[in-house]
Amino acid sequence: AQSVTQPDIHITVSEGASLELRCNYSYGATPYLFWYVQSPGQGLQLLLKYFSGDTLVQGIKGFEAEFKRSQSSFNLRKPSVHWSDAAEYFCAGLSGSNYQLIWGAGTKLIIKP
């Protein structure tokens, strides 16, 4: 069955430090992959998406993600986090002609001052 897994429920990072959030997928073919951010009281906002081509994808707010087929991973990175990055981050995927997004359980990012 198709699935998206985020192994870390919480991640705590000091402000200014680098960040990596993990995402693993299980699909028969290469899926389309997305990272969304959800701040309290706000809707989900797309950070970046991968369809094909260059495996390093740049997104908004200084985020990037790298698709690694050999590891079935699509990890999100940021070189230096800001307090405003504190939020919940979701990885999602879809494939083929199925418009149904399949979501990970999310990783809550906590920023230490």
């Binding site: 998206v4 985020q6 389309y32 969304y36 009281g41 706000q42 809707g43 989900l44 906002q45 797309l46 998406k49 369809f51 979701f90 999602a92 879809l94 083929g96 002609s97 199925n98 418009y99 149904q100 997004l101 399949i102 979501w103 990970g104 359980a105 999310g106």
Partner: protein
Amino acid sequence: DAGVTQSPTHLIKTRGQQVTLRCSPKSGHDTVSWYQQALGQGPQFIFQYYEEEERQRGNFPDRFSGHQFPNYSSELNVNALLLGDSALYLCASSLRLAGITDTQYFGPGTRLTVL
């Protein structure tokens, strides 16, 4: 340009009641998807509407039904509410012609509490 809007923001119901949630898509979008997000979990796909018809459905019982109007807005109806239906209900819109990879834009959600 208004984004995706949902109403109401919050709703409290009791078990057995029925509820209707509403969604207006982003201007220019013709496809609406509904998701249920339980506390501490990722969203779960309920169904998707395009051209006023349900096109895809996730693993949800028939108590969950929907409708799409000619102006592309949509409603989600849940009958015979259960305590487990308490969740944040998210609406997302997209443009069908843009293809499967088109970005889905999400509304802020409706928080449903079933007592």
